[in-house]
């Protein structure tokens, strides 16, 4: 029996089969001597080439408010996206399940983040992962639920990971516009899916402010976890300053 992580890696390899190498702006390359598909997927997520700054030693200034909008959960129930994220630190990733390019890699990294956070209850209970599809015609709630099954941890200590979609393009487009997430049909048939997009993953604080935006270059689970810890330290310092017993 293969373990959960290995199974996720396998899903990632299958989805990436036939995909070209990472485009230049993603900046990821195999390490010397490792040419397998496995190393391409696992490379930067497991072996980022730089030391990480200590949590709390750097700033994560607010970039913009995290927008809301109508979304559907895996059971087809309607929610407001901003309300789903409110009160916790959220990692919001825009993906689509037919992607054979960067989305499976992003989902793998989020699954690794979920596993990391599962080992720290203080973080897990304050964190929520959200993967949102920008392909509502294909990615129905049922499809999202099936996709979630490939990635989501079954560990009860893991932070929540929601998978949402929209009813249609009319509901989707204002959300994409608010998050400045470009998506467009590819002009030619492609083995990596029908949509062209840039991967954007958002770190959102409990008050609804975007505090970081990741491409694959910095979607290192350890780095994102440090950013989450930095937000928690910020919040604790703020609470201490506001405390009447201070």
């Amino acid at each position: 029996m293969i373990d959960t992580c290995a199974a996720r890696m396998l899903v990632c390899f299958v989805l990436l089969a036939g995909a070209p190498g990472a485009s230049a702006h993603d900046g990821h390359q195999e390490s010397p001597g490792s040419q397998s598909a496995g190393s391409m997927v696992a490379g930067p997520s497991t072996d980022y080439a730089f030391p990480l700054a200590e949590p709390g030693t750097y700033r994560l200034p607010a970039i913009k408010p995290a927008a809301g909008g109508g979304v559907l959960d895996e059971l087809g129930r309607g929610h407001d996206l901003a309300e789903l994220m409110r009160g916790r630190i959220s990692i919001l990733a825009f993906i689509y399940t037919r992607c054979g390019d960067v989305c499976p890699t992003a989902s793998l990294r989020l699954s690794q983040l979920q596993d990391l956070a599962a080992g720290n209850p203080g973080i897990a209970r304050r964190l929520r992962l959200v993967s949102m599809s920008f392909d509502p015609e294909h990615d129905t709630p049922d499809v999202m639920a099936d996709y979630a099954g490939h990635w989501r941890s079954v560990d009860p200590n893991a932070p929540e990971w929601l998978y949402v979609t929209t009813v249609d393009q009319k509901q989707l487009q204002p959300i994409l516009a608010a998050y400045d997430q470009p998506v467009m049909p590819k002009t030619e048939p492609s083995s990596t899916g029908p949509l062209a997009h840039i991967l954007r993953v958002f770190l959102i604080d409990p008050s609804g402010q975007v505090r970081n935006i990741y491409s694959l270059d910095f979607l290192d689970p350890e780095l994102v976890l440090n950013d989450i810890r930095t937000l928690i330290l910020d919040e604790e310092q703020h609470d201490r300053r506001m405390s009447p017993t201070r």
Partner: protein, 417 residues
């Protein structure tokens, strides 16, 4: 986003930016207005470079911003939908919508509170694409002396943060080789190493002053940058301040997956410098070659590194030359070609495949040559690895446009409907 193996793009662009599939179709030229020439206003000039187009090599669109503010540098957002162009004098940033009609840019928004929001920075210079954000490297500050900052915006033009350059008084924890002077110019990121490099020029008091006056003022000439700063990019913290005398300007990171180095050129000392990660893991800076005859002050102004990291084009303003160096061994550049482009030359941009190069002429409004030597042009060449061959040229004064400076490439293929 692109899937073709034939990319066309300026090789100096942010690694975070979407790339063009196939050849570039348009060149956007940020152009300084000249009083009495056309409308006298700074403008975006769109040139058609589609080789099968009836208007190939012609100006097909002009978008004036209604004033002169020392148009200089700028760049695209990471999704390449918006082009941010800045003024060194008026400290305004003009955001053009490119995606709606790449042949016809439209001014969408103007940021006119850069100095106020940034806490005192002036002279917005480069616009460098980060994920969902734009990093503006400024040249100066309100008092004109030159201590400056990097200023971060969201893609929709909202101010995010200011990161001041380290100085002798406040090195911000950075290791300082000799001096931390606080000047700024370019900013470029190598994501896989989580490092950003910045370079240094001079303050507003100098860059807005007529060059003839400036060079006679020995005190003023002391106030040029002599540093490059290596930053922890993720934390936006300076780590090391290198001593690179002579105003290091444009920075070009190598593209190869294991090429952990960048080139720059120094305007006043006429040298190519290499900033590199050594075998011991330490980052170092070394002068690796002369550009022309340094004692003759050719004044290197722009460089362009080929996508295969083997060829470096270097423009020198005073003699109007472009020199091509073989940089296969980055520690030992060797000049392999040179050509006079015009009486003065400034920016050079090359396609991703390295076969097409574009040159413009203007440095700064008060630093350009005068009289017959004040040629103002865009010239396009093909490069076969041996020599440059002319494709077309546009006389920006005859066309009543002004002084052309930075170029950016566009293509409709980025925005399928």
């Amino acid at each position: 986003m692109a899937e073709s193996t034939a990319f066309a793009d300026e090789t100096c662009q942010s690694p975070y930016m979407a790339k063009i599939t196939g050849e570039e179709e348009f060149v956007y030229v940020w152009t300084l207005g000249v009083e009495g020439v056309g409308d006298g206003s700074d403008k975006i000039v769109t040139v058609d470079v589609r080789k099968d187009s009836p208007s190939f090599g012609k100006v097909i669109d002009v978008d004036s911003i209604g004033g002169r503010g020392e148009a200089h540098h700028g760049g695209f957002t990471d999704d390449r939908r918006y082009l941010w162009m800045a003024g060194l004098d008026d400290s305004r940033i003009y955001i053009f919508d490119i995606a709606s009609d790449p042949a016809n840019p439209k001014l969408l928004k103007t940021i006119d509170d850069f100095t106020e929001k940034s806490g005192g920075a002036v002279g917005p210079h480069g616009a460098y694409a980060l994920p969902g954000r734009v990093l503006i490297s400024a040249l100066s500050n309100k008092d004109g002396s030159g201590r400056t900052a990097l200023v971060e915006y969201s893609n929709d033009g909202a101010y995010v943060a200011t990161h001041w350059m380290p100085t002798a008084a406040d090195a911000q924890g950075a290791e300082v080789e000799t001096i931390a002077d606080g000047y700024g110019y370019d900013a470029r990121v190598l994501p896989r190493k989580n490092v950003m490099l910045t370079s240094s020029f001079t303050g507003r008091d100098n860059y807005m002053r007529p060059l003839g006056d400036l060079v006679k003022d020995q005190e003023a000439m002391k106030h040029f940058g002599q540093t490059m700063v290596l930053w922890d990019f993720h934390g936006r913290k300076p780590k090391k301040v290198f001593h690179v005398p002579g105003a290091p300007l444009e920075i070009r990171w190598a593209w190869g997956p294991y090429n952990n180095y960048a080139f720059t050129s120094t305007a006043l000392t006429s040298k190519i410098w290499l900033v590199y990660e050594d075998r011991d893991g330490a980052w170092k800076a070394s002068a690796v070659a002369d550009i022309g005859t340094p004692s003759e002050m050719p004044v290197p102004v722009d460089i362009s590194l080929s996508a295969d990291d083997r060829t470096l084009f270097v423009d020198t303003f005073m003699d109007g030359m472009t020199r091509v160096f073989d940089v296969s061994d980055p520690h030992k550049p060797k000049q392999i070609y040179e050509k006079k482009i015009g009486s003065q030359v400034n920016m050079v941009s090359q396609s991703w495949d390295g076969t097409r190069l574009y040159y413009t002429s203007s440095l700064l409004a008060n630093w350009d040559k005068t009289g017959q030597d004040n040629e103002q042009f865009l010239k396009a060449y093909s490069w076969d690895g041996q020599q440059l061959a002319p494709r077309f040229e546009i006389d920006f004064m005859a066309e009543k446009l002004g002084r052309p400076h930075i170029m950016q490439f566009g293509s409709r293929s980025l925005y399928p409907s």
